[in-house]
Subunit: 316 residues, 2 copies
Amino acid sequence: PDMESIAGAKDRNGQLTKPPGALGRLEELAIWYASWRDTDRPSIKSPQIIVFAGNHGVCAQGVSAFPSEVTAQMVSNFEHGGAAINQLAKTFGATLNVHALELEMPTQDFTTAPAMSQAEVVIALMAGWNAVDPKADLLVTGEMGIGNTTSAAAVAAAVLGGSAAEWTGRGTGVDDDGLARKTDVVARGLALHDASDPLEALRCLGGRELAAMAGAIGAARHFRIPVILDGFICCAAAAALEKAVSGSLDHTVAGHLSAEGAHDKLLEALGKQPILSLGLRLGEGSGGALAIGVMQAAVACHSGMATFAEAGVAAG
Amino acid sequence: PDMESIAGAKDRNGQLTKPPGALGRLEELAIWYASWRDTDRPSIKSPQIIVFAGNHGVCAQGVSAFPSEVTAQMVSNFEHGGAAINQLAKTFGATLNVHALELEMPTQDFTTAPAMSQAEVVIALMAGWNAVDPKADLLVTGEMGIGNTTSAAAVAAAVLGGSAAEWTGRGTGVDDDGLARKTDVVARGLALHDASDPLEALRCLGGRELAAMAGAIGAARHFRIPVILDGFICCAAAAALEKAVSGSLDHTVAGHLSAEGAHDKLLEALGKQPILSLGLRLGEGSGGALAIGVMQAAVACHSGMATFAEAGVAAG
């Protein structure tokens, strides 16, 4: 972050026509945003939402309530404007880009082999990096991939420690038997692979869309584009970055607390306080997209309000 | 609410391309909104924000960190587009209307006399009623009035019971001495007036902007316009309505939990779960306005998403 912009933005915030601190967390968000845009009076004009889609060999283990075909069907739904994320992008004036990552070639089942080869994970990381529009001024990374809460739980456990049971949740809505099966699958994946290195965790246990989100978050840092993290899967991918290089998520905020069981634990591990908590558990970047509105409001207040001096208001 | 629209909206919600319940509270909000718009597929095109301003005789007791002149100065700031609520209205495409209610004639100091006469409170209620645009499809009622957290605490205590200390908070930011003084002022107001009738509470302890918000919320019910309640002061005015006629807030949701101390207790008494909780304590309708974005997103998803059948997605 740019220290001069932080100082300038804090100074401006203190002069705006409101009691000190009366905009609560909006003030902190605006100052944080300014610090990555290298100005004390930023604006949000071009938010970008990217949804990466991938398929997962681990679906063979019966970990999802939906069949793998749904990944491609939902990509088609995104392309035709029919999904939740399309409506959210439209509501907040964001550009939506969808990248289907070799859906016809699922990752390997991580209970028997590494999910991806070295070449495959690098290609996915680069797909994510290249998907970011350098001119965007706010980024949400989302995903679609039947089976990917299983991969995300395995990545989170490998990167942050803890048992499979602590990180495995109900995803799109599996029952108790399904949850027990998922937990066992995650435990077997953790036992099979040496994933102490965070990028090895993404490769052996993750998926193309997880690696792509990590790549996109990295690119956003390069271009100084603030990022709103989405739910459990996005945060698991982000956790691998943070583990690889401490501080590498400083340009990100947590858009929401999802209903996926271990998301609160994951946010706590990342030191991120969610902006929203509305029980979403959809993926697609939906929780992050919903938080775009809050970021737009925070930045609009910060940069658009009059100061006490400008408005001729007594400062108390 | 219209039962047929609820049934239709629930049926539609169950067919949308997402796992059941995956949009969390957005689903409930969209169905609630539909029920007041008499359609299973509503839209939000014309949100209205109304800010009512009033001055308070009780300021003579030293209850605020700001002088009374700030009320008129902030009205001027609203009219020139420099306040937080202007930026929030612009961000979410809402119309903003500001009504200054006889600022040059503050209410009486309620520690010595009723704040308003019968005629005055009726005029304020009608000003609120008449301020609502019948063509609006979502309403936020906000306020500006130095001293009005003191009035709101007194109204809340009179309407809902409990001691002055339970309902009195720091408002725009008084210190410990100021808080003790405010609490004493509220206690003296409660002791002086027989305010067991909720409209008498508004008249004797409230203020013009509180009465106007109550009138506007009543008008919105008449026109079947859903309302997003703002913070402590708005909710205190709304509580008088609810006490007068049980169920009269069924067309309202709580936009946010503010940082004013007793707002959580007030929301609990109203049975309302806030949409946002970001530590705002500004008034002006700011927290309600911020929640417009969430309502727009909820309704956009509900009415804009494809069904499983339309999108050719397997329903799991």
